[in-house]
């Protein structure tokens, strides 16, 4: 029992860790957090509406200016050749969520890399046009991407097995028809 009591302060300290990490980037505790990836989508409407047709890309892949453009009513009516119109309240909700979590508002590592790779004032309209994304995929032979299994770089979760959680680490990549990708 006494031994357990001695452990108490340690247990208390440990239980406090999850509550504090992630809030302060400069804290040494950021070593433990997951901000080295991209913020996962936490909004049910965003996930449902965007995910009804394609992988619900995390807002942290594009700057606010891009979301503003992509999610305008007229843009949604011609969304890469598809009609993706939404009722105004839903569109507003999704746009607000995207703006709040856009790459230029995020402290996650990959969002910062996206921003660093863009030219000043550049407004990419496709995530696959972002220099950082292109650079990260340029070693992969085109033959592995084109074709029925993956189709294009737009299908994140075709290879990134933890894409939905916002995890894009190399270790989580399995390319259909090829298997684990090794660099």
């Amino acid at each position: 029992m006494r031994k357990l009591l001695l452990l108490l302060p340690v247990l208390l300290w440990l239980s406090a860790v999850p509550a504090s990490y992630g809030d302060d980037e400069t804290s040494w505790l950021s070593f433990f957090d997951h901000k080295n990836e991209v913020a996962p989508v936490r909004d049910a409407t965003y996930k449902k509406e965007c995910g009804a047709c394609h992988f619900p890309y995390q807002p942290g892949w594009l700057p606010q200016s891009a979301w503003q453009k992509l999610l305008a009513p007229s843009a949604l009516a011609d969304h890469f050749g598809e009609d993706a119109e939404l009722p105004e309240t839903t569109r507003r909700h999704i746009l607000d969520y995207a703006l709040l979590n856009a790459a230029d508002k995020s402290s996650y590592k990959r969002s910062k890399k996206v921003m660093a790779s863009l030219d000043k004032g550049e407004v990419p309209t496709r995530i696959t046009d972002v220099a950082y994304i292109r650079r990260k995929h340029h070693e992969i032979p085109a033959a592995l991407i084109k074709g029925d299994k993956v189709k294009s770089l737009s299908f994140c979760d075709a290879c990134h097995t933890k894409a939905a959680e916002g995890v894009f680490d190399e270790d989580t990549v399995v390319i259909p028809g090829k298997g684990k990708w090794s660099w």
Binding site: C53, E82, D83, A84, E85, P87, K151
Partner: protein, 131 residues
């Protein structure tokens, strides 16, 4: 105990009826023009009517929904798998009017290049309710 079992059994028997109520309620949301009423036959014609899109290719509802409505379809461009349209195998179909309206708006414009009228929506739903 026996009474409860019988009640549960009765509820199960009501299931098909409940799912029918779903699509009928949705159809009731639309107003037919000139007292025409809705017709499955007109819906059938619309469903298979071919239109030439901006990209020069012909489109009708089946290009994405497939020929067998009891089986999943596949979007010709995005490859997205579309759940079966037949209410008999997909009980959730046509039970959410907001969802029905959202997709009518998108898909009528995509396929026909314009929005569908209430009459057309009712006819299409009447046609699909048979499956």
């Amino acid at each position: 105990m026996n009474k409860y079992l019988r009640m549960i059994g009765a509820l199960f028997l009501m299931l098909p009826v409940l799912s029918l109520a779903g699509i009928d309620q949705t159809i009731a949301h639309y107003t037919p023009q000139n007292g025409l009423g809705f017709s499955a036959q007109r819906g059938d014609t619309l469903w298979h009517r071919k239109n030439t899109a901006k990209d020069g290719k012909e489109r009708d509802c089946t290009v994405c929904h497939g020929d067998d409505l009891k089986k999943p379809g596949k979007h010709i461009k995005t490859g997205k798998v579309i759940d079966p349209m037949a209410p008999s195998v997909n009980h959730k179909r046509f039970t959410d009017i907001d969802k029905v309206e959202k997709w009518f708006l998108r898909n009528c414009k995509w396929t026909f290049g314009r929005e569908c009228t209430d009459q057309e929506k009712g006819d299409i739903l009447k046609y699909l309710s048979q499956f």
